[in-house]
């Protein structure tokens, strides 16, 4: 009874704005206390995260992402893509989808894509003839496109969490990265097709293909072109370990943005480093306390009980998957992606595996849901960021985002019910 009361109290404090790490830490401490485990174990559990080999990749990729976001790399990325595919029908929409996806993969869906890339594309889209609402919806919903592509932080975090649990068929982080490629492409393709159909009656100005433009855009971005190659060769190709790639990319981006492009001055650098480390420190702390919390849950047999409870109602895998999607969509709108991963994966993964779902497939489904959760009305975070950035009332953003959301839900359903899309390349 006291336990239940304590849990309810903590959850109330959670939705009142208590930092997530405090919420999870207090739940873990309550659990240890009830189970008569000395609370000194907290230190052991926290220190245990230093055993995770992949952990090194988190601060390094984050730092690289912050430096990229701070410089004009978004402009150069848009220019290169525009020069390459701007001549296609619906070109600018496709440019938007592709650049947002690439930028988000590097910087995480922290809203920085909307601010850095979306702000460039929003006026450009209207200029060539797209409607205001369409443009607004596009930049808002594309702010989380690319979560499924390496080296996105949530993908790595899911990998760390799932590998710690060690249930279901084992997988490497490379396999998880590869698994995200087709689903991410599917989203971009569906969005592009829909965008062509939706704007079929409009006069959209098209750009001519000019080799000169391509050359100058590529030349401008010559120092950043190697970055996707590092990712493709290093991570997808498996030539380097993920954390080695992260170290090389972090150092490379640091040198390029600070000393070659000189867009982050030596005076600004400490501030950027501090913000990046504070952000990633917060996430690693959440990861640490959630490992402790996971142990409490496992000791209390919560995953087993959750499975028994769910199985008494839900008989087959397909019904489970649809309920999972609904649950995760709501969760993704309320909870930030990192907390959602560390809190829900320990409970969901064993249940999903018991229903015969591959851990890699679950990860892709999980993140695809979270990606949509970012702009699910009424509380998806990107809606607020876009409303703030483009100075539009939030209700207008709801309307603008809905059609894009519908397209991405179609993609989500395909990803959920055709496991091959995620597993075809790796299993």
């Amino acid at each position: 009874m006291e336990l239940l009361l304590g849990i309810i109290l903590i959850l109330l404090l959670a939705i009142s704005g208590t930092p997530i790490f405090v919420v999870i830490l207090s739940l873990a401490m309550l659990g240890f206390y009830v189970a008569d485990v000395p609370l000194m174990v907290i230190a052991v559990e926290l220190y245990r995260i230093s055993d995770t080999p992949l952990l090194l990749a988190l601060p390094l990729f984050t730092l690289a992402g912050y430096l990229l976001a701070e410089s004009n790399s978004s402009t150069r990325l848009v220019n290169v893509t525009q020069a390459l595919i701007g001549w296609l029908p619906g070109g600018l929409s496709m440019i938007a989808f592709i650049t947002c996806a690439m930028f988000t993969a590097f910087t995480g869906a922290s809203g920085v894509t909307i601010v850095a890339v979306g702000a460039l594309l929003y006026p450009a889209l209207q200029q060539v003839g797209y409607s205001e609402r369409y443009s607004l919806g596009l930049v808002t919903t594309s702010g989380s496109l690319g979560l499924l592509l390496a080296p996105s932080l949530p993908l790595i975090l899911y990998g760390i969490m799932a590998q710690q649990m060690g249930v279901g068929e084992p997988f490497t982080i490379q396999q998880l990265f590869v698994a995200g490629v087709i689903p991410a492409l599917l989203m971009v393709v569906l969005l592009s097709v829909w965008s062509l159909w939706h704007n079929r009656g409009r006069q959209i100005a098209m750009q001519k293909f000019e080799a000169g433009n391509v050359r100058s855009a590529l030349w401008e971005a010559r120092w950043e072109i190697p970055l996707p190659l590092f990712v493709i060769g290093g991570i997808y190709g498996g030539f380097f370990a993920v954390s080695e790639t992260a170290a090389v990319i972090a150092l490379y981006v640091l040198i390029v943005e600070v000393f070659i492009y000189k867009e982050v001055s030596l005076r600004q650098l400490p501030g950027v480093v501090r913000r990046a480390v504070a952000m990633v420190g917060g996430i690693i702390l959440i990861l640490g306390v959630s490992l402790a919390f996971t142990n409490v849950l496992v000791d209390a047999e919560v995953p087993t009980k959750a499975f028994e409870l769910i199985q008494s109602v839900v008989k087959d895998k397909w019904t489970f998957l649809i309920l999972l999607n609904i649950f995760l969509l709501i969760l993704g709108a309320i909870l930030d992606i990192f907390s959602a991963i560390v809190i829900m994966v320990p409970i969901l993964l064993p249940v999903a595996v018991a229903y015969g779902i591959d851990p890699v497939h679950l990860g892709i489904i999980f993140l695809a849901n979270m990606q949509i959760g970012y702009f699910t009305p009424p509380v998806g975070m990107n809606l607020f960021i876009a409303s703030y950035r483009f100075n539009k009332p939030i209700t207008e953003l709801y309307k603008a985002a809905l059609p894009f959301m519908a397209v991405l839900i179609v993609a989500l359903l395909l990803i959920t019910y055709i496991p091959w899309l995620s597993l075809g390349l790796i299993r």
């Binding site: 009142s16 405090v22 230190a43 995260i49 170290a247 909870l335 509380v379």
Partner: protein, 157 residues
């Protein structure tokens, strides 16, 4: 701002930059040694892990200076400033209590570990590597405590 608080911020920042530089430097050095010279510092990987751990803890400390920790703000968005402030006092009080309590137990643990004197890597004992845990928790706890009386400026999210 108080002089001693400024000094503390300076020390935190200095530690953060130092570890970041050390982390990137050591990681690159290891890659270089491994791939070019087919060798490596044998405690290098263990040291890197401890560096990341320290960096995370110091980062979390710095995050608590501003409201840098992730929290659920989906519902508090809709409250009036006065109501938000009231909830802020409540959540800060709770956060301070939890962090300080955890810091206390972690300190006891680290002191125990010092008795054992195990080595983490090179000549560095384990307890030194773990010592950042109570320090970080206590610092964050004290900051939450201060925030009960001196609210942080509202940040845009």
């Amino acid at each position: 701002m108080n002089k001693s608080i400024r000094l503390f911020h300076f020390l935190e920042d200095a530690l953060l930059y130092l570890i970041t530089a050390g982390l990137i430097g050591l990681a690159i050095l290891q890659i270089w040694l491994r791939n070019v010279h087919d060798s490596g510092i044998y405690w290098g990987d263990s040291a890197l892990r401890v560096f990341v751990f320290w960096l995370a803890m110091v980062g979390a400390m710095v995050a608590s200076r501003e409201s840098g920790h992730i929290s659920i703000d989906a519902f508090t968005h809709y409250l009036r400033p006065a109501q938000r402030r009231m909830l802020g006092v409540l959540t800060s009080l709770f956060s301070a209590f939890i962090c300080l309590l955890a810091a206390w137990y972690c300190l006891a643990f680290v002191l125990d570990e010092r008795e054992y004197g195990d080595i983490a890597f090179a000549q560095v004992p384990v307890w030194i590597c773990e010592a950042i845990i109570p320090v970080a928790l206590a610092t964050m706890g004290l900051r939450f405590l201060i925030q009960i009386f001196v609210p942080l400026p509202e940040t845009k999210s």
